[in-house]
């Protein structure tokens, strides 16, 4: 699998570290939240879709940026790679 890093160009999978579902990271309860059910869902439940999946990868063996990668979990085809920076986009 080749991941096209927006900063370094197409690079081998071995250079990247996986950090899971990007939607899950975005839906994290607020730090001060004491909503037990919301934390249970966040920590343990996964959508696990077969198809398009937005996920976070870090280019640990390259520019070290965190990336938002849209990949098809059935074919490993990557359709979109951008900088993962939720606080910037908000």
């Amino acid at each position: 699998m080749i991941i096209p890093c927006p900063f370094c160009g197409p690079r081998d999978l071995a250079e990247f570290t996986y950090h899971g579902d990007a939607a899950r990271a975005a839906a994290r309860p607020a730090h001060g939240s004491t909503d037990q059910e919301a934390w249970d869902r966040h920590v343990y439940d996964r959508r696990n879709p077969a198809g398009s999946h937005a996920e976070i990868w870090q280019h640990a063996g390259g520019c070290r940026s965190h990336l938002r990668v849209v990949r098809d979990t059935r074919t490993h085809e990557i359709t979109e790679t951008t900088l993962y920076a939720p606080e910037v986009s908000q």
Binding site: A14, D40, Y44, R46, N48, A50, E55, H76
Partner: protein
């Protein structure tokens, strides 16, 4: 007299082997059954068999979207062991081990169960302490375990590099002598045949496309071969669990699907007569009866429904094989393939009634489902037949994650690609 015996082999040989019967019928689906099992893999077939043999429920259909043995039951590295640390896991897998020991007789089908032993190698003093702890826990749980020192390792595995030249020299191993391997396809075929003889309908090329609901209760399934109704529906679909349950409106589960690769080399003369694992990384290797070395390592480490993996893991696994057994570098790889694993959030399985009324779930096997096949079928059949978990699977509930009762052997947390 049992249908399969030495006498039958001779008799059929004299008849030109033209009179063997197919192992199971190819029935068309009936409109309704007492129980439908979705998924004709090892666990689904075993469940159907134990529903018929232990609970007298033979009006059962097993629905398989492909052909029998096309999923993980035909894609694993065939290892059977019960060397677990936590008491709940140890009791369940040890029960499974005992079932393996009599399985060929039970099914009248040779599953080629070979108790050749598994040796988990350790390479540092800290790992040795951990192995001692695990070994003692196993002994306390009634599971066999022993330490193996390098001198014995050298005698049993002449190809093992004990010269101390490697970065992580082998200091010894923890052995479970009763562990071993079994012929994976034969397990599917044996259970299928035994279930079929008891009246279970095994329906291949029959993909479930939806669930029929009556309020919240699940009362049947839509399939590519028509609608089929049942009082109880068990789902045992491994890596496809999230996909299948999404059809019933369950959009999140404590499961992620990941791809695991496995490899086999060309056949060579016997050179490795036990299962060995490498403690410096993640590798398990054994030699099949056909002569090929069968091995695998970590999952690829990202969500995947593709039954194929990527090259970094291939490179990683090969480097570990050569680290342990330098001579194996000369072997040629015959095949590699991938299977989709249902990785749970604590690395332990789920066998439970629910999550909807009328539905029963068997999932979360990570990459240890093969050895669990007999006990999984036995416990799932009990859960379906009685609506109560068997004591052996009481801890494998779905709500354990939210009650603080996770069964995390490694203490890894909810990062399933690291289990």
């Amino acid at each position: 007299m049992a249908e399969y015996s030495a006498l039958q082999v001779i008799r059929n040989a004299l008849g030109g082997n033209e009179h063997w019967k197919p192992l199971w019928r190819k029935p068309d689906p009936k409109p309704a059954y007492n129980v439908i099992i979705v998924g004709g893999g090892g666990h689904g077939l075993a469940t159907a068999y134990y529903l018929a043999s232990e609970h007298g429920i033979a009006n059962v259909a097993v629905l398989e979207k492909g052909w029998l043995g096309s999923g993980n039951i035909g894609r694993n590295t065939t290892i059977v062991r019960s060397n677990y640390l936590l008491p709940e896991n140890a009791a369940f897998y040890e029960h499974s081990m005992k079932m393996w020991e009599t399985l060929s007789h039970e099914l009248n089908y040779n599953v080629m169960f070979s108790q050749r032993g598994i040796i988990n190698l350790f390479h540092t003093p800290a790992q040795e302490d951990e192995a001692a702890r695990r070994g003692n826990a196993m002994l306390l749980n009634g599971v066999d375990a022993r330490f193996v020192r390098p001198e014995e390792l050298g005698k049993r595995m002449p190809a093992l590099d004990l010269a101390g030249s490697s970065r992580l020299p082998v200091l010894g191993g923890l052995e479970q002598p009763r562990a071993g391997t079994a012929r994976h396809d034969a397990v599917a075929w044996g259970y299928a045949r035994a279930a079929d003889r008891r009246g279970v309908d095994i329906i291949e090329n029959c993909e479930v496309t939806g669930f029929i609901r009556d309020g919240t209760r699940v009362t049947g399934v839509n399939t590519t071969r028509g609608d089929i109704y049942a009082r109880k529906i068990g789902v045992a679909v491994a890596g496809s669990t999230s996909r299948v349950l999404a059809m019933a409106g369950i959009d999140a589960l404590p499961i992620e699907s990941h791809v695991l690769q496995a490899f086999v080399t060309e056949s060579v003369k016997p050179c490795l007569d036990c299962v060995v694992t490498y403690g410096g990384g993640h590798l398990y290797i054994s030699q099949s009866d056909k002569g090929g070395l069968v091995f695998g390592g970590d999952i690829d480490g990202y969500n995947s429904y593709a039954q194929r993996g990527n090259l970094p893991i291939v490179e990683d696994v090969m480097s570990e094989v050569v680290e342990l057994f330098p001579a194996f570098a000369k072997l040629r790889l015959l095949r590699s393939w991938g299977g989709v694993m249902d990785m749970s959030m604590d690395g332990s399985p789920i066998i439970t009634a629910g999550p909807l009324p009328g539905m029963y779930l068997n999932a979360g096997w990570c990459y240890g489902g093969f050895k669990a096949t007999p006990a999984s079928g036995f416990c799932f059949a009990h859960t379906i037949a009685t609506d109560e978990p068997h004591p052996l699977n009481a801890a494998f509930s779905l709500d354990r994650f939210y009650r603080g009762y996770v069964l995390d052997e490694k203490g890894q947390g909810a990062t399933p690609w690291k289990h």
